[in-house]
Amino acid sequence: MRKIIQSMVLVSAVSLGCASTPKGKAIQLVVASDAAADEISTGYEAYVEAKVAECDAKLDPEKNTKEDAKDCLGIASSDDGKRLLKVMESLVAVQLAIKIAVECESNPLKVPEAFRANCIDGQKADWGALAASLTSVWQELAPFFEAVRGVTGGK
């Protein structure tokens, strides 16, 4: 996926010249969210293990409830883990929509038929809507990214 993103950045740099447009913002968000998703997917398990150890030392199964355990785990709870998977699914869907949008404008005849409905008039993309969708997904992903960064040290 990273090669695709790098290609998108290259084209954007050439064709846009700046990132202040909705298209530029969308491209920037794809790069940032893609890097965050990579880091989360590799660091989330270690983060959860650390939080479980921390909460295991703090809580007593005889005295505390399952809700206490979930509260202590915070974003490492099973509910939040399931939410993370759904957010990552949304991210992939929006990234794909943006990749298709880039192609709508650069090479519309090669857009697979199943995705042609994503091209306005066959060759334009609604960059404002795409940037808004990705911003929304990014906001949901950000807490996980911040939490995991504390464990991975941003590696």
């Binding site: 998703a37 989360i40 090479n107 697979p112």
Partner: protein, 62 residues
Amino acid sequence: MTTALIALGQALIGGIPKIIAAIKAGKKYEDIKLSDFVSSDAVEAVKRAIGKAESFEDKFKG
């Protein structure tokens, strides 16, 4: 710029065969799943983490 666009087109076409296969298999665009695109290792790591959290939570009363 033309060269860059051609490179992009090739990268895009090369990057989405799994998605196209999923579409051909009857999936709708909206139904594309993470595992169609992200490596199964990354998905499995998150699922393992969920399992570890659930095991810990299950030690506590309902």
